[in-house]
Amino acid sequence: MKKIINLQPHNGTRWLLALLPFLLLLLLYVAASNARLADNPGDKLLPAMGSFADAIQRMAFEPDKRSGDYLLWVDTGSSLIRLGLGVGISALAGLAFGILNGAIPFARAPLSPLVTFLSLIPPMAILPILFIIFGMDELAKVMLIIIGITPALIRDMQQRVLEIPAEQLIKAQTLGASSWQIILRVVLPQILPRLLASVRLALGSAWLFLIAAEAIASTDGLGYRIFLVRRYLAMDVILPYVIWITLLAFFIDYGLKKISQWSFPWFHSQTGDGGKS
């Protein structure tokens, strides 16, 4: 008999097994929802599937009665712009300062302890200070994301630069490369795929800070809508929004992974996740 660690599910079985937990969750939900609705047809805590369909129809495909906007798309647009700006700027800063700290000891000496210190401050704890410095508008929301994820990105990039084998740097120098050339031709290409990997991991926190920023003061956005309708327990709107956010996050992550695989095949053949998944 085959040992269990050697038993591999076939392709079809694999899909089925992957879907099974989701189906069970759905079943669990429907059962619980039906039980509550039988008790109180107006129950808002666990709405029926039909209510979700109505809510999605209303939020995504009908103009809002008051503003005339298609709320889901307006919210998605504003949130994605904030997230894109926040994560984009953080990634650039992470790359620049990471390389600077990693490659130049005289930059690392003053900056590295500071970045470590900054990365340990919980951004939510200094919200009132952030408000006073950055105001309450779009800038503040983007800044919260940046402050939340940049220090960790810088630290990670610095570490990756330091991991580049010393032999490579020595070799480049014996070939006559200047510091600038080494940074540009040896360090940067090796760091870029690692930056994408770090950004993928940082996206989770970025979403967290985005939703928090939108919950605090906002006029639109996915987090804004969730916290607004929470005031009247509209779970029929909240749950589809949560699933939508999850899907968006999944596709952004998937997109970044694909970009990384196309642009840096050598990196993925090294780490063993090249192209297959």
């Binding site: 039906n34 039980a35 047809p41 107006g42 008051r66 408000f131 309450m136 916290f227 327990l233």
Partner: protein, 355 residues
């Protein structure tokens, strides 16, 4: 395999448990729980629970009542609506838009007070409400602040279209007002008094200009109350004993107010300043008179219209009267869908000394 079987058997049990959890049942029971959150008009519940007054009255009727503090106001109402508590403190507007709109038939058992200046509109630099035109206004959207703003705007011939409402968490409003971007806010005490201590801030409208419209209640599940009148009697009995104690101008009354001040994070002077802008109904007589007045019905009509205009009554609502509100002066809205009841009968019992 055995584990899988176990899981298959346990899953439906878990579903059932999830479904049953917290649905307040209507049958006769012995133990009840109510929740409250920090607000000047609800601090007496804390005092009553800590000093054993609630327990004394519960014992008298042979039941047990658990009084639970919840830190987040909206969360406390949501928990009540979900069925985790038999009663909860809330305003008249939230009682209509959260539990009643959520199909939970609710009864305003005790009408405790109304805001008489506790909620206000504050402008930076400007001195009159009409100056709010064109500004961004930071407030907790869809809350009583929003309602107050709407009523204020009506009084100066403006509407919400003339300004931009920015939803802002109450926890951050004070910090927000300190930033240059924020020029106007609508909020409640103790945040309101905190903001008014800042330079250049002017209160241009407050709830004393719409007296009796923002009402603070103890709301209980109607079915639970119907099956357990003892629950209502014990709560009302305890409430008016607490009221008598805290309103007395003697050492005991002062101690009670000091206790509540401390529990709400302020001192006696601060708490009494908040009490001054709150019209407390210290006696059952005042509360019954207010609850049986015709004005209450008119107020609920305003509130229902505001709620309907902002989509708070749900999508099934065809008009502001979708949810019936029963008051002593008559019914407002649909008689087929009565979900909020102002019932003065228990307070009347307290007035008649029948508890």
């Amino acid at each position: 395999m055995r584990n899988l079987l176990k899981a298959l058997i346990l899953a439906p049990v878990f579903c059932a448990a999830l479904a049953v959890v917290g649905i307040a049942h209507a049958e006769e029971r012995k133990s009840f729980s109510v929740c409250w959150s920090i607000y000047v008009g609800w601090m007496p519940w804390d005092y009553g629970a800590q000093q054993g007054i609630v327990k004394k009255w519960a014992d008298k009727y042979g039941i047990a009542i658990d009084v639970v503090q919840i830190n987040d106001y909206v969360e406390s109402i949501n928990q009540y609506t979900a069925g985790k508590y038999d009663g909860c403190t809330m305003t008249n507007m939230d009682a209509l838009t959260i539990p009643a709109a959520g199909g939970v038939d609710s009864t305003a058992l005790i009408v405790g007070d109304f805001s008489n200046g506790n909620d206000g509109v504050v402008l930076k630099g400007k001195k009159s409400l009409a100056d709010i035109k064109g500004q961004s206004v930071n407030l907790v959207e869809l809350s009583v602040s929003h309602y107050l703003l709407a009523r204020g705007l009506e009084s100066v011939g403006l509407s919400e279209k003339d300004l931009k409402v920015v939803n802002t968490s109450d926890a951050d409003l004070v910090a927000a007002f300190a930033t240059p971007d924020v020029t106007s806010v609508v909020t409640w005490n103790p945040l309101l008094s905190e903001i008014l201590t800042m330079p250049n801030s002017n209160k241009v409208f407050d709830s004393s200009q719409i007296p009796g419209e923002i009402i603070d209640l103890m709301v209980v599940n109607s079915d639970v109350l119907k099956a357990n009148p003892k629950f209502g009697k014990a709560l009302v009995g305890a409430w008016y004993e607490i009221m008598a104690t805290m309103s007395a101008q003697d050492a005991k009354g002062k101690a009670a107010r000091e206790f509540m001040a401390k529990a709400s994070g302020t001192d006696l002077a601060g708490f009494e300043a908040q009490l001054a802008s709150t019209k407390m109904f210290y006696t059952a007589k005042d509360a019954v008179a207010f609850t049986t007045s015709a004005q209450l019905k008119t107020t609920m009509e305003y509130v229902a219209k505001f709620s309907f205009d902002h989509g708070l009554l749900g999508d099934g609502a065809a008009d502001a009267g979708f949810i019936g509100v029963e008051t002593a002066a008559g019914l407002y809205g649909s008689s087929k869908n009565v979900k909020l009841r102002f019932d003065p009968s228990y307070m009347q019992m307290a007035l008649d000394g029948k508890l």
